[in-house]
């Protein structure tokens, strides 16, 4: 399944390190915006008065994590369909930040909703489908984040590593399901995420058949 990128001269990839720097800034931006809105009342980045900071933290980090997961998933279709092989260079970083935001999301729930009390946490996870699903999604992300270094790719070998990292599909699907299940009514955002997920999986499946 691994399509080799066409050989490209060294020179033409010089832009990649610079782009990575920009990407780092972009990937950290959500956490700065969040901090600004909560602690500086949006003085730097604007935004409305925050009525419920914890809700904002949870929605903001949850959405960012899910969006980054889906962006990461778009890499393969983009390579196959558009020939944008460079996307693979950024995929691991995007995935790592998906984990970063998912972890902020989950930790904010541990701390603010449960003040780290273990029993209520376990109870909530077991009693509520949408939390259980979120928890599974996050737990499955952990091994992916841990093995995201080049060292681990070498250690596992590309094939094994790739197979392990297929887990990102269930992770994203569980993340979407987590959102779908928590809303009272069918709301727009979870439907959009579901559509994006189906589209990405569909494209992938179609391209693979060829």
């Amino acid at each position: 399944m691994a399509t080799l990128p066409p050989s490209v001269g060294r020179r033409s990839r010089n832009w990649i390190p610079g782009a990575k720097g920009v990407l780092w800034i972009g990937l950290l931006a959500p956490v700065f915006i969040l901090g600004d809105r909560i602690f500086l009342f949006g003085r730097l980045t604007g935004g409305d008065f925050v009525d419920d900071p914890v809700e904002l933290i949870q929605h903001w980090t949850g959405n960012t994590a899910l969006i980054l997961l889906l962006v990461g998933l778009a890499s393969t279709p983009l390579r196959r369909l558009m020939g944008w092989h460079w996307t693979i260079r950024f995929r691991r970083l995007v995935g790592l930040f998906a984990f970063f935001y998912a972890t902020l999301h989950v930790v904010s729930w541990f701390v603010f909703d449960h003040q780290l009390a273990l029993n209520p946490i376990i109870e909530d996870v077991l009693e509520r489908n949408w939390i259980l699903v979120g928890m599974l999604s996050w737990l499955l992300l952990i091994p992916l984040a841990l093995t995201s270094t080049s060292g681990w790719i070498r250690r596992l070998g590309g094939k094994k590593w790739n197979r392990l990292h297929q887990l990102v599909y269930p992770v994203a699907a569980l993340g979407v399901l987590h959102f779908l299940w928590q809303t009272k009514l069918l709301e727009r955002d979870p439907v959009l995420y579901s559509a994006a997920l189906v589209l990405l999986l569909g494209v992938r499946w179609l391209v693979r058949k060829k």
């Binding site: 008065f49 009525d51 419920d52 809700e55 003040q115 949408w130």
Partner: protein
């Protein structure tokens, strides 16, 4: 008195709204309204309001939040949507139809309906079924006073409230998220309870459209969704009316919807709540702390009639 039961207004009001309060008190006294204390559950703001023993950590929720963080799906499902989409909402003229089991069925203008009723300030906790809460200084009158004036018949066992249906002004009604128009209802004894009020103002100001202008229901021991907004119809009925959320998702939203930390929502616990603006959750109180209503439900299985 149990800790944390009743919000006490004296020291907690932010400076910025103090002036509002003063002007309200002036207006209220001109109208000949003394502050009254009802069943120990209500604080009417008055200069000489008695100090109450105990600790109170029920600060008023700031005006920005009370008027900017709203569930009013007629104007959109986001918490900020009502404020954004309701600004041009027209509440004048406003007609309210009184119908059903009542001595005289007729249509009142807003002014006719509320004419002569005692508007007082009530500081109530508001607990949303979603697990957040506020403390709000409403201005309104006892529903009981209105009902007595309207004169329901012997057969009136319930009162039903209907929100305006107007797709042009209420964009949310164009989407089928709920079966429109929004309808809520109370059992007659609940409606006659002195804690139950119809609200026409908040923070001493005219009720903003996003909070349900010009007139809405507040039942402080029930989840917020019972408080029908922008009411255009009051109907007295013999049988229990259908109510909107109960009809939409009966498993999750009951007719009674009394705040009860022991009865969980299927998707979350109701044992705790987050007071808007705070980081940690606090315990939810039975009947939202208004325990004086408990006798209304004597002998009822609250797990079943949630």
């Amino acid at each position: 008195m149990p800790r944390n039961q009743h919000p006490h207004p004296s020291e907690v009001t932010p400076e910025s709204i103090y002036m509002d309060r003063r002007s309200f008190i002036k207006r209220a006294s001109v109208a000949g309204i003394g502050g009254s204390l009802i069943a120990g559950g209500v604080w009417a703001r008055q200069k000489n309001a008695p100090r109450v023993e105990g600790t109170f950590d029920d600060d008023l929720t700031p005006w920005e939040t009370v008027t900017g963080y709203n569930n009013f799906y007629e104007f959109g499902t986001g918490k900020g949507d009502p404020k954004k989409n309701a600004q041009d909402f027209r509440t004048d003229p406003w007609a309210i139809e009184v119908t059903g089991e009542v001595s005289e069925e007729r249509v009142f203008s807003f002014d006719e309906l509320v004419d002569g009723l005692d508007i007082e300030e009530r500081i109530y906790r508001m607990r949303c079924v979603e697990g957040w809460s506020m403390v709000v200084p409403w201005n309104g009158f006892m529903l009981k006073d209105l009902i007595e004036r309207l004169g329901p018949t012997e057969d009136a066992n319930y009162v039903e409230f209907t929100t305006l249906m107007d797709r042009r002004q209420m964009p949310g009604q164009n989407s089928p998220v709920l079966p429109w128009p929004y309808v809520e209802a109370l059992r007659m004894d609940e409606a006659m309870h002195p804690l139950t009020i119809l609200v026409t103002g908040v923070y001493g100001k005219k009720l903003p459209p996003q909070n349900g202008a010009p007139i809405r229901l507040i039942v402080p021991w029930k989840y917020g969704f019972k408080g029908a907004k922008s009411i255009v119809k009051i109907r007295f009925t013999k049988r229990q009316p259908r109510t909107t959320w109960n009809e939409a998702i009966p498993r999750e939203y009951g007719f009674y919807a009394n705040v009860n930390p022991e009865v969980d929502h299927p998707r979350w616990s109701q044992a705790t709540e987050r007071r808007l603006g705070e980081f940690f959750r606090r315990d939810t109180l039975m009947y939202n702390g208004y325990e004086e209503v408990a006798s209304l439900y004597d002998g009822m299985d609250l797990q079943r009639y949630f």
